[in-house]
Each structure stands twice: as C-alpha cells, then as structure tokens.
Amino acid sequence: MNPLLLTARLDIVESLRARWFLIYSLVFGGIVALLFAFGLTESRVLGFIGLSRLLVTYIQLTMAILPVFVLITTVRSVAGDREAGVFEYLLSLPVSLSAWFWGKILGRYVTIFLPVFVAMLAAVLWSMFRSIEVPWAMFFYYTGLLAAMAWCFLGIGMLISTLARGTDVAQGAAFMVWLTMLLFLDLILLGVMIQGRVTPEVAVGIALLNPLQVFRTAALAMFDPQLIVLGPSAYVILDLFGSGGYRVYALLYPLAVGTLAAVAGYLSFRRSDLP
C-alpha cells in the first residue's frame, strides 16, 4: 500500500481509540438524536417543516461547534504526539515527509468529517423510514458545506500545529484564531458599521473573508435566498455573487483557505525540527 494511505490508515486507527473522537462522535450523534427527540421535524419556522427544519438547525449548531472542536483536537493531538515522542519514533521509519504529513491530514479528515456526516445521514435515513420527505438538494449542499468547513479548519489546525512547538501554545493559538473569527461575525460587523467607522463594503468584505461568516451566510441562503435576515449587507453579497454564485463561493473559498493553510503547514513542517 502507498505510504500516504498507510499513514492515513494509521492515523484513523489511532484517532478511533482517542477520547476526543468518542466525545466528538457523541456530540454530533447526540445533537441529531436530541433534535428528533424534541420533535423538531414537526415544528415550523420560516415555513420550514420536517427534515429541512432539522437540517437547518443541525447545520447552525454544527457551525458553532465543529470549527473549535476541529481546531483544538487537531492541535492537541498533533502537538501532543510530537511532545510525547510519537513523531520521534514513527518518523525514524522510512516514510517520506510528504506521505507522512498528507497521510496524517487525510486520516484526520476522515475522522472529523465522518461523524458529522454520519449523524446527518442517520437523520435522513430515519426520515425515510418515517416517511418524512427528504430535501435532497439541501442535504447534498449541506454535506458539501460540512466537508468544506472540516477541511478549512483542519488545514488551519495543521498549520498551527506545525508552527507552535508545544501543546499549550498550539492550543492557545487555535483558540485565538477561532475567537477572532467569532468576533468578526456579522453582528459585530454591523455594530462597527453602525458606528460609521468603516464603509459597508469593507465590513462585508471582512465578512466574506471570514470562513465562519461564509458558512453561516451560505446556510442561511438555503432557506432565505434573498438573505433578508442579513439586512443591508445582503445587497453587497448578492450584487457581487448572485444567490447561486454565493453558494459556490461558500464551498470553494473555505476549501482554498484550508488548502493554503495545509500547504503552508507542510512547507513549515519540512523545514523545521520534526520531533
């Protein structure tokens, strides 16, 4: 087997036995179970009922939890492995640095995306069993959105892990990155705009560069194509991209951010001390 795939498999096996994976899977599985238990499929919000109502809530909750979860668990386990001597031993074996780094990313991607996706898939299968109509377009787009979001934050997490030498520093840096993105969500931007210190275009521009805001807006766009809830900033976004264009942007931009961060992480990893 290819060394990259061997490394990916090794990382998956290692992650499946880690406590973070158990908690992570329980959180997302638990969210879906709770949403069903509270009868969310029977409630109606903004005309949404059935599984679409559940998916909208699920994606909103996932957006709040997944980024910080992926960032913290990635930097903790990667920097922790390095500190504990796992890198020293495994990198003494004849595996290339590219196979090791990208194999690790691939393995980790599978372990962070799968529980989120499986929870959503379980909701769909349960709905089919209960003869609830499944909004397939929404399901596929949200799957793409989750895949892009997981990749984006995994890439950022790997970059932080390679730059920070210790677990504590890496964890602190990951938390700061997440907090910064959180600070620039639209509510804060709107506040800045109200104070009149920046032009709406600049504020919207910042929002469009913030992966957290991009996901949030894309998720909203699924049930509010005119982005009415966003207020005036919707004009700029829709003017720039159009409704369909924005949905594509919301998939491609985070993928690009994740890829750039991962490549930067790899270049830093190649040039630095490994253990």
Partner: protein, 290 residues
C-alpha cells in the same frame, strides 16, 4: 560510512551541539555516552534526519533529511522511551513492515525469540503493554528487517536478564555486517557490546577511544555468590537478576550474560561489604537456557 561534519544545533539561544565532527566506518559499534543534556539524543535525531542543524550529516554519502526513505530504509532505531501509541500492536507491526518493505512475520519471529508471544497481543493497544513488552516489540521492529545501521538509545534498559541475553545474541548475529550506535548514560551498561566509545559533554565530543574487542558477547556466565549475612536490599537486587536463593539468603546462584558482566559487577560492588565469595564460570548458553 557515517560522517558528521561541523554539526551544530541551537535551541533558542542554547547551544546543544557544538561543531561535532565524527566518522564512523561500517561495522563499528559505538557507545555514545554522556550525562543528561550532553547532546546524545540531539545527535541521534540529527543522524535520523529529524532535526535541522548546521554542518552536514551523511550516511553512505546521502543526507538523511533529504533522502529519508533511502537512508532510513537501512536504519533500525530503538528509542529510550517507547512512544505512547494507542494503536493495536498488530497495526504497528503491519505499518512498520509495510513502510520498511519487509515481512511482518520476521518481526513476529524476532519478538518470539525475545520471549514475547506477539500473537496473543496483536489486538492490544501498544500503550497498554508493560515496559518490557514495549521494548521487545521496538527491538523486534528494528532488528526484524535488513539494516546496515542500528541506533539504540538505552535499548536493554527495560529487559529482564534472559531477554537481555537473547538481545545480545541477536546483536552478535549482526557483528561485522551492521554498524551500531548505542546511547547510554553509563559506559558499564554497554561497554561489552562496543569497540569504540564516544563521550559527549555540553554538546561536544570529549572522548573518542577504542576499547578492547569482546569477540563473543553472546557468552553466558554461571555466577555463585556467598554473602557474609542475609540482606533484604541485595536479595531484592539479585531477585531482579533472576538469581535463586540457595541457602537462607546467603548463597545465591544465577546466570549473567557476557555483555552484562560489567554491569553485574558494578551492581555487586555496591554491596561489597556483604560479599564473602564470588565465582564466575563461562558456560554453554544453549544448555543453560534450555
């Protein structure tokens, strides 16, 4: 040929390796000794291509950092502290065998020779094994393939006397064909295994000397000890060497691997006030170990 040329390494402003120059010819067995912080582990990590550094390190003319797979394919490494891997033993062996291009069965067979029934622990997480089991497994991974260089950091520290003897036999089988670098805090731990001693202190090589060849470090010695009186401390220590109490804690009998003689005598020296008599006879290892 392994060559270190003006190798230097700094951590922040602290100089850990300072212009290290060293040449090791194929087949040499080096004891790399020195106290904590002397630079042994850093030197080993530079040799394995894990650290960036000033100067140059080459193994067979290739840099281990840039030609990783070529170089490390011929290098077996046993770390001092086993990594806390959660993966099952079978997975670790399969991964190591696959990336090293060897058959995992060779590693299984070597584990069995070291007294580790690997078949019964394949599904067990590596980090749940005892210290001795982990060490045996790491030795099996390093020796269970074709290597030209063995780099070992206190490799026998967690092994029981019998496993140590088998380990020394395994090394004896590779004499001449494999270069060995054995790192240790103490020379008496490794002296009988090596033909050259390199001592480091504060990042520099302070001693580089030849030692008398021990041509048969796979030999075994039968040892009989007589004490002036029974003593709990020496009884515990002799027990850890798997010695048998022949008479009320006064007469002790056991075997010591040839390569462990110096270490054993060093231990006995601590209790010299209790010692009345000591006898050591070389015996046929094959007969004794049966």
């Amino acid at each position: 040929m392994i060559r270190f040329t003006d190798v230097g390494k700094d951590f922040r402003k602290h100089r850990v390796l300072d212009a290290v120059n060293l040449e090791i010819v194929p087949g040499e067995r080096i004891a790399l000794i020195g106290s904590n912080g002397a630079g042994k582990t850093t030197l080993i990590r530079c040799l394995l291509g894990e650290y960036t550094h000033q100067g140059a390190v080459t193994i067979g003319g290739l840099a281990p950092r840039s030609a990783r797979t070529q170089v490390l394919g011929k290098v077996g490494f046993v770390p001092q502290l086993p990594p806390p891997l959660k993966m099952p033993v079978g997975q670790l062996l399969a991964f190591a065998a696959a990336v090293c291009g060897t058959d995992a069965e060779r590693m299984h067979a070597l584990s069995r020779r070291l007294g580790l029934d690997v078949g019964s622990i394949l599904a067990r997480p590596f980090n749940r094994l005892s210290g001795g089991m982990k060490q045996k497994l790491l030795i099996a991974i390093a020796l269970g393939r074709d290597t030209e260089l063995l780099v070992m950091d206190e490799p026998a520290a967690n092994l029981d006397p019998e496993a140590r003897h088998i380990f020394f036999n395994l090394l004896a089988e590779r004499l001449g064909s494999t270069t060995m670098i054995i790192s240790s805090h103490r020379l008496d731990e490794v002296a009988p295994l090596v033909n050259r001693v390199v001592e480091m202190d504060t990042g520099r090589i302070v001693l580089d000397d030849r030692v008398a060849e021990e041509s048969r470090f796979s030999t075994l010695f039968e040892v009989h000890l007589t004490l002036a009186r029974a003593d709990a401390a020496i009884a515990r220590t002799l027990g850890s060497w798997q010695f048998a109490d022949r008479r009320a804690g006064v007469e002790w009998h056991g075997t010591v691997s040839g390569a462990d003689r110096l270490r054993f005598l060093g231990m006995v020296a601590r209790y010299v006030g209790l010692l009345s008599r000591i006898e050591m006879h070389e015996v046929d290892a094959a007969v004794v170990l049966q």
